[in-house]
Symmetry: C2
Subunit: 354 residues, 2 copies
């Protein structure tokens, strides 16, 4: 069954990889992004990531440069297409920045989602997949994290904006039986598409480990700082559940099938993780092997708000979505490295890089 999906934040890391998988599965995709965080050469009709998705898939991308808080502009997109489902990636996502600019985070992430939901209801589109995050669990009281672990003890505006939005979605589904909503709680997405042509392209200093390591490997950064070597983990460094971006993207297709088959009613939540935790030093070691270089690092004190370990229970997604991650640490590192090596300056560096 070919579906028409409207994808917000389509030009981002997770967005672009999901658009690619949607195309590969034969679906139509309407892409929306304000490109506040994605490279878009104004002489081009598409942001660079989506141009490359066109190249890779041979499909034509339908793109609207729209801010989801602009209700009128968003509504006009819905009026032009018959949308079956919305996959909502658009959000600000940097923890540190969210502490400096909380209002911007709340306005983008909560107001933005609320406006999108209003426009959907106005246009009688009630199928919704939401980009949530394992951050909603706060500091884990048990591991692996099952979907019924308590949520809400978030320590920063980014995390709170994800948690608050989940609550809004839950309330919305309780208020109106038309809605079918799945929140996908992402663990730590890494890797890149096999082609090496799309990948994670952080602005400035990366907030996440994997882009940091790969920028050290490619010579853009001197040294990785490892925050804490006295955590209660196998080697003292923090443990996370890293998941390959292509696996993650495919999780959205599984969620989509579930929604569109009428397999859910109301609100449901699924973890997207591998169930396996790797430490910072595990990642450094494996990335070194993949790129054939030493990754220089030094230990630094723990950061406030960090936690020791975090990894997913994958049972519910396997049982109810029929989805499981397939790609291992080796692919995560090799694919990240291929993207980084081919695009040392990300999407903006295209002309000089290739």
């Amino acid at each position: 069954m070919s579906l028409t999906t409207l994808t917000t934040g389509a030009a981002g890391f997770i967005g672009s990889h999901t658009v690619l998988e949607l195309f590969e599965a034969g679906h139509n995709v309407i892409c929306v992004d304000n490109c506040c965080n994605a490279y878009h050469d104004k002489n081009e009709s598409l942001p660079e990531s989506l141009k490359r998705v066109e190249d890779i898939t041979g499909k034509k991308v339908t793109f609207y440069s729209v801010d989801i808080r602009d209700k009128k502009a968003l509504d006009s997109v819905f009026k032009k297409h018959k949308i079956d489902c919305v996959i909502h990636f658009a959000a600000l996502k940097a923890v540190g920045e969210s502490c400096r600019l909380p209002l911007q985070y709340y306005q983008n992430n909560i107001t933005g989602t609320s406006v999108l939901l209003e426009v959907m209801a106005d246009n009688e589109v009630y199928n919704f997949v939401y980009s949530s995050s394992a951050t909603v669990y706060g500091d884990p009281t048990f591991l692996p994290l099952t979907e019924d672990h308590p949520t809400g003890n978030c320590t920063n505006p980014y995390g709170k904006s994800k948690y608050f939005t989940e609550e809004i979605l839950k309330d919305l589904c309780a208020s109106d039986k038309n809605w079918n909503v799945i929140s996908l709680r992402y663990f730590n997405p890494v890797g890149a598409h096999k082609s090496g042509r799309i990948g994670e392209d952080p602005n400035g200093e990366p907030n996440n480990l994997m882009p940091y390591i790969s920028q050290v490997a490619v010579g853009k950064r001197q040294l990785l700082k490892v925050f804490g070597n006295d955590w209660p983990t196998h080697d003292g460094t923090g443990v996370r559940d890293y998941i390959h971006i292509v696996d993650l993207a495919q999780g959205h297709l599984s969620a989509l099938s579930k929604l569109l088959k009428g397999g859910t009613t109301g609100y449901a939540v699924y973890n997207l993780g591998t169930g396996v935790g790797y430490s910072v030093l595990d990642m450094v070691k494996n990335f070194s092997i993949a790129c054939g270089k030493n990754i220089a690092y030094e230990f630094a004190p723990r950061r406030e708000g960090d936690i020791a370990s975090c990894y997913a229970s994958t049972e519910k997604a396997a049982d109810e979505l029929g989805w499981k991650s397939k790609l291992g640490l080796k692919e995560m590192c090799e694919d990240t490295w291929r993207w980084q090596k081919n695009n040392p300056n990300g999407f903006a560096g295209l002309k000089s890089d290739l």
Copy 2:
């Protein structure tokens, strides 16, 4: 010191009583309201409640019919006046309605507040008093409720919108030292101004106990339903901390003094309650005495989400704001009855009533 306060939701129950007290204390008040919940005869320049505040005080009300989500309109109000402080009442407030219309509640209460805060920052106004609620405490784990009781276990969108907004304010103050914010957690406001000319004017069936009792007394409703007579309280009915609206209004003036004297830095929270809990049957009995009539009632099953008892610790407000409630249950009942008797149909019924 005469201050200029911008008051949102100025035409509402708490808003109008606070505007009156601000005038009586010699302050200037700029009133903003979209009147989605307040009677405004379009042939008149003012909503009825504020017209009466003019009559009572002899002061001239400056009023703008503005929705706080309309950033441009709100900004133009800030450009016209030199504002010292904002007191922010504007919000939707009916628990049951919030379960039916969650998006409207989140948009009005969270997006609305966020837009207001953005406009304030744009205009370099950083003093803010927020209308919060004891509902942020959820089901009490101890009594009396002190300000450091955990918050956030709210069971309905109205309560969540208050809790989420408190978190946003806390994050905002942490991000920018210019801000001085006081959240006032209201317990159960009742009563009316001594004049009997302004008071609570619910749309349709009242959500709160006191207006319900007074509508039974005045013959508009037949019978009070008392939800649960098996609560663990002195007579089996639910116990709440009722506070006279004039006391509550004066609490805002104390908060204002604290803010403007530079007495706070960053974010602070205070309960506004009396510290004394009365049961539903206590209220019925005392209202009967005040109005000289029997109040018919019957018992009904408990409602989901209700709690047995809730009352405030008043120590922090006394110590730090120098504020304490002065009016007792007798005044609460007598003043409510004077308002109800003189205005059986609320503000809209003016012409036939007086």
